[in-house]
Amino acid sequence: MRNAFIDELTALAKVHPHIALVVGDLGYSVVEPFADLFPDRFINAGVAEQNMTGLAAGMASEGYHVFTYSIANFPTFRCAEQIRNDVDYHRLPVTIVSVGGGLAYGSLGYSHHAIQDYALMRTLPNMLIAAPGDPMEVRSCLRYLIDNPGPAYLRLSKAGEPNIHCAMPEVAPGRWLKLYEGRDHEQALVCTGAGAQVAMRWHMNVGVGRQERSIFSVPLWSMKTKRLQRDLLNKFKKITTIEDHLVDGGFGSWMLEASVLASNGNEALDCRIIPVALDASVCDTVGSHELLNTVGGLSSAALFID
């Protein structure tokens, strides 16, 4: 995903002279295509994420669309207040990019596990979360963010994720993208970020006939778009959400809140929501990405939770 990101960002920067990339001394063998072509719009802020985010807001207030870039929790939690006050409150076009979402940096340990980031970003009223599920969605999300500038958080996995879509899908905040059309019209799997990769892998493994729920990816979501979910939720009796984030404050939690909001003052929704997310036990474990996802509860068994 990170390669699709830099490829698409570089292509967009060719036609949008206001795009700037500010990195926190990370991005080796990733950011070079942008840095080489646009040295004047590439800035290494050093290992100083508070200043990186503050200066990004300052540049954004003068006409730039700034992408801050680092890995795991460094561009988010380390500078959470700069994101909250400087970027989000002032509604500035800064896209915070984190590579290594979820447990992608498995063996590097807890400091590198980005499994609470949705919880942070979800609480900011102007923030749009972009959590693409495959490289095609990365490109679509980037184009959307450039066309609709504002505070945004782009969460990427690492590299090597296969494409699920065969072409760039049309994304919009709160929209569900269909990845698989199942025969079961009462149940669905709804994913965000790398959850889509997990769901599609399960789907392939269990075989046709056993997994007949439709699978959706929701790459763009936010506090504001929570209220747009009613009609989508209304189509199903049971929805299983999938994400590589702790359940607390995550995507499934967002969907549960959406269903409660949708029922307030309306006829109650007849739709059960089952969040499949990481268990906190994963915080004390070190291992490969795959092992940690399994320890955390994203195994194929979870697909059939009732």
Binding site: Q50, G54, L55, A57, S61, E62, N85, D86
Partner: protein
């Protein structure tokens, strides 16, 4: 307005009032009738709690009517008691310390890249320099030769609970900034003539950001407020307000 709103931080506002008066009165370019004029100099108040001084200056310069200051701290008002960008003439909201200088660095960097000649002024408190983000920004500004950036330190030697010296000693402050690659001047932050002379020609050194360490008195001009930590918090009563006006003339 601070009395009416029962607000805090009058001591902090009086500490920097002379600096604000000189900056807006003699140094910065702006047009009160075209608030977003692109050629204006940018002013960032990083010690956002002292906003009463800035709001008063903006009203005096015609950014809005004096009567609007009556809404200071009132329900649904734009005039929050920490500086708000919803007030005409205010570039950036602060309140949490250590945010102004990084934001100003971004503005100054943007101006350089866009070939613009306007300057960015950031006014900081002394206690605020405890925040590490300022030193991240200080390092960045000199590395990128942002000589269109001017920081002014309101050095009144008092912070929230005690003196600066007893909390986290800043001295030698001038040498700290010099070591970070800044051009430094130290002077009396209440002397309008000295302030104006120092800021008249900028930058002081090509290729270096400038920092003016302004020695000030918290609560300046009101004897019972001067050099008192309590006036970081207290709001003047009606009697204290009248006594203060008498002293200030």
């Amino acid at each position: 307005m601070v009395h009416r709103a029962s607000a805090s931080h009058i001591g902090s506002a009086l500490s920097m009032s002379d600096i604000a008066a000189v900056l807006f009165g003699n140094i910065m370019k702006f047009d009160a009738k075209r608030v977003k004029w692109e050629g204006r100099d940018r002013f960032i108040l990083s010690k956002g709690h002292a906003c009463a001084a800035v709001y008063a200056v903006l009203a005096a310069l015609g950014f809005f009517e004096y009567s609007e200051l009556d809404a200071f701290g009132a329900d649904h008002s734009a005039f929050m008691t920490h500086i708000s960008h919803k007030v005409p003439g205010v570039e950036f909201s602060t309140g949490s310390l250590g945010h102004g200088l990084p934001f100003g660095v971004g503005k100054a960097l943007a101006a350089k890249k866009q070939g613009n000649t306007w300057k960015t002024f950031v006014l900081l408190g002394d206690g605020e320099l405890d925040e590490g983000s300022n030193w991240e920004a200080a390092m960045f500004a000199s590395h990128h030769r942002l000589d269109n950036l001017i920081a002014i330190i309101d050095y009144n030697k008092l912070q929230s609970l005690d003196t600066v010296a007893h909390t986290l000693a800043l001295e030698p402050l001038s040498s700290k900034f010099e070591a970070f690659g800044w051009s430094v001047k130290e002077l009396n932050g209440h002397d309008h003539r000295i302030l104006a002379e120092a800021l008249f020609e900028l930058p002081w050194e090509n290729g270096k950001p400038s920092v003016l360490i302004a020695h000030t008195t918290k609560g300046k001009g009101v004897s019972f407020m001067e050099n008192s930590v309590a006036w970081h918090y207290r709001s003047p009563t009606k009697e204290q307000l009248e006594a203060a006006f008498l002293e200030l003339g």
